[in-house]
Amino acid sequence: MSEHIVSSKLYIGIWAALMVLTVVTARVATIDLGPFNTVVALVIATSKALLVILFFMHVKYASEKLTKMVIVSSIFWLLILLFLSLADYSTRRVG
């Protein structure tokens, strides 16, 4: 990671986007979208997480590929944990 100094304007822009998305997600939750309420909440949360990871955590500017590999694989492991567990529990009856 040859040091990349991000402009404060960009940081403040990301902050503003995160604040707006927080208000949007709290507001949208009170509107009836059927099953899409959960989808919208998770899409907004993931967009916020991506903004933090890419800009605040400087992953966008990381030259070290190993760092990106660690991040992608840890998300992959998390998805294995969640999906395989849910595949099991959702296909059997729990009292």
Partner: protein, 233 residues
């Protein structure tokens, strides 16, 4: 400073001699931190997995429990954490540019936001205590049964929601307390002038931890507070 590993002794005190260059040293520290964060993702992942399984089975109880949380405080706390992440990001920038005073001010602001978050969390927990929503002997969800006659609420299953609520927000708060400790340490050494444009890895690494804890909350907020806030039919 030289990029050549042969030029031993030709570098400043900021570079440990087993690294070839300052860049390599910084990359190694950052990679190590990301590996730690990978273990943290799996650590919180177990809790999220438990949450998903029980939410799937006891959706009504989870929805009612979620409605009983204070949306206003939850939203404000999310914003407080986002502000703290901004001050951390700007702090890293101040360290990179060698602005010592600005760095100290931004780190102090981060501490203030972090403590504000914990204070608000304390208010919310105290409300739950007063409402007898803390799992255990005195747990009582009669108020939820009364408030939401449209849905069937099982008291035992309601306790599972609140157990997960306290476990997840508690674990997150513990991470916040540790983060505040780390940042108090960083603030002290920033004030002493330890961090320079050549050596600011601790600020960057501490920042990665802080942002990670922020991301956990970014998911906890919709998953705990916004399960089902739609108008009841």
């Amino acid at each position: 400073m030289s990029d050549s590993p042969i030029a031993v002794g030709q570098h400043g005190p900021e570079l440990r001699h087993h690294f070839a260059s300052v860049e390599q040293q910084r990359d190694a520290a950052s990679l190590g931190m990301w590996l730690f964060l990978a273990t943290e993702i799996m650590f919180f992942g177990g809790m999220f997995c438990a949450y998903l399984i029980y939410r799937m089975n006891y959706f009504n109880e989870f929805a009612a429990g979620s409605r009983s949380l204070d949306l206003k405080w939850g939203t404000i706390n999310t914003m407080v954490l986002i502000c703290s992440s901004l001050t951390v990001a700007l702090g890293v920038r101040a360290a990179q540019m060698g602005k010592r005073k600005l760095l100290v001010v931004l780190l102090l602001l981060t501490l203030v936001f972090g403590l504000a978050f914990l204070g608000i969390k304390g208010i919310e927990w105290y409300d739950k205590y007063k409402e007898h929503h803390i799992p255990g002997q005195s747990f009582n969800a009669d108020d939820l049964v009364r408030d939401y006659p449209q849905i069937h609420i099982d008291q035992q299953h309601e306790q599972i929601y609140f157990s997960l609520y306290f476990a997840m927000t508690g674990l997150h708060a513990l991470h916040m307390i540790i983060g505040i400790g780390i940042f108090a340490f960083l603030t002290f050494y920033a004030w002493k002038g330890r961090y320079t444009p050549e050596y600011n890895t601790p600020i960057e690494i501490g920042g990665l931890y802080w942002h990670f804890v922020d991301i956990v909350w970014i998911y906890l907020f919709p998953l705990l507070y916004l399960i089902d806030r739609r108008p009841l039919r």
